[in-house]
Symmetry: C2
Subunit: 165 residues, 2 copies
Amino acid sequence: MSNYSLGTVEVSLTPMQRFEEFLQSKGKRITQQRRILIDHVFKRHEHFDAEDLIDELSRTNSGQRVSRPTVYRTLRELVDAGLLKQMELGGRSVYEHDYGYPQHDHLHCQKCNKLIEFRSDEFLELRQKVAGEHGFRVTGHRLIISGLCQDCSKVRRRKRPQDLI
Amino acid sequence: MSNYSLGTVEVSLTPMQRFEEFLQSKGKRITQQRRILIDHVFKRHEHFDAEDLIDELSRTNSGQRVSRPTVYRTLRELVDAGLLKQMELGGRSVYEHDYGYPQHDHLHCQKCNKLIEFRSDEFLELRQKVAGEHGFRVTGHRLIISGLCQDCSKVRRRKRPQDLI
DNA sequence: ATTTATGCAAATCCTTTGCAAATCT
DNA sequence: AGATTTGCAAAGGATTTGCATAAAT
């Protein structure tokens, strides 16, 4: 389903429909690979990077393969379309759902690499306030609080290092 | 007078001294190039990247040249030593003074690329509060508020309607 | 005399591009 | 048909690494 219901305005469209709308408005075409990608991307709600997508799609034995350049090209479009949000973590781009998903920020565990989402209206107010003091017109922000998650700060000894995001 | 306080930064040391201390504690050596770099880096208080350093040093006609790999290696050490803070902006690493410089965050103008520093204790409190709610142990954070700076939002810009939702 | 650091060149990693062939509308 | 897209191979930019030589202790 369509659990894209969070008080936002146009929540009736599926990501696919929204993307099609976007593409048409740009005179772009609705191709097989764009379908495959958006389909795959919105199946789960996890953070991922381009490599994840390429790997996962190359594993499906149902002819769902999409080339690396196309994956990158489409990711950019999905960001432009407002469907995905992009952030940089450790040198590469990481993506997450944006469309129909409430604004939030992240706690990033430096040990296990987990990303924990949180929401804070207070922060948004603060953001406005600070910007206002500098005559700055805000369009967005990037906030990642880093440290150790509950599990990892419990552990006494160092665990084997996980692959860095 | 009182360099007898726990938890407070000893601001009596110059960056160079602090770095030497760090290097010794690691069994590393105080080389010419490390001297040149830290010297150059702490001359000004601007944000810079590795390329800036390399360029600037190659321009000095006083035999101050340092190779690219060494610049990168040393930048990492300076970050480890707590002298520089590193952040990622547009795919590359940007550095700024950390040692002896008050904690702050940034407003980033998407148009002129300016970085405006600001300080907010409220935000730090909020950070603790949020982290606490998740049993998270904070070690740091990265916050960049993006948008248009005062100057840039004044300018009347007639852009072709390209990236509208 | 050791041992660490440097510089060079080449390698990596992530991402983008040129272009001919394939695919949409 | 006519335009946009794709996939391939190769290019790119930022950063890192292997290794022989130079420098520091």
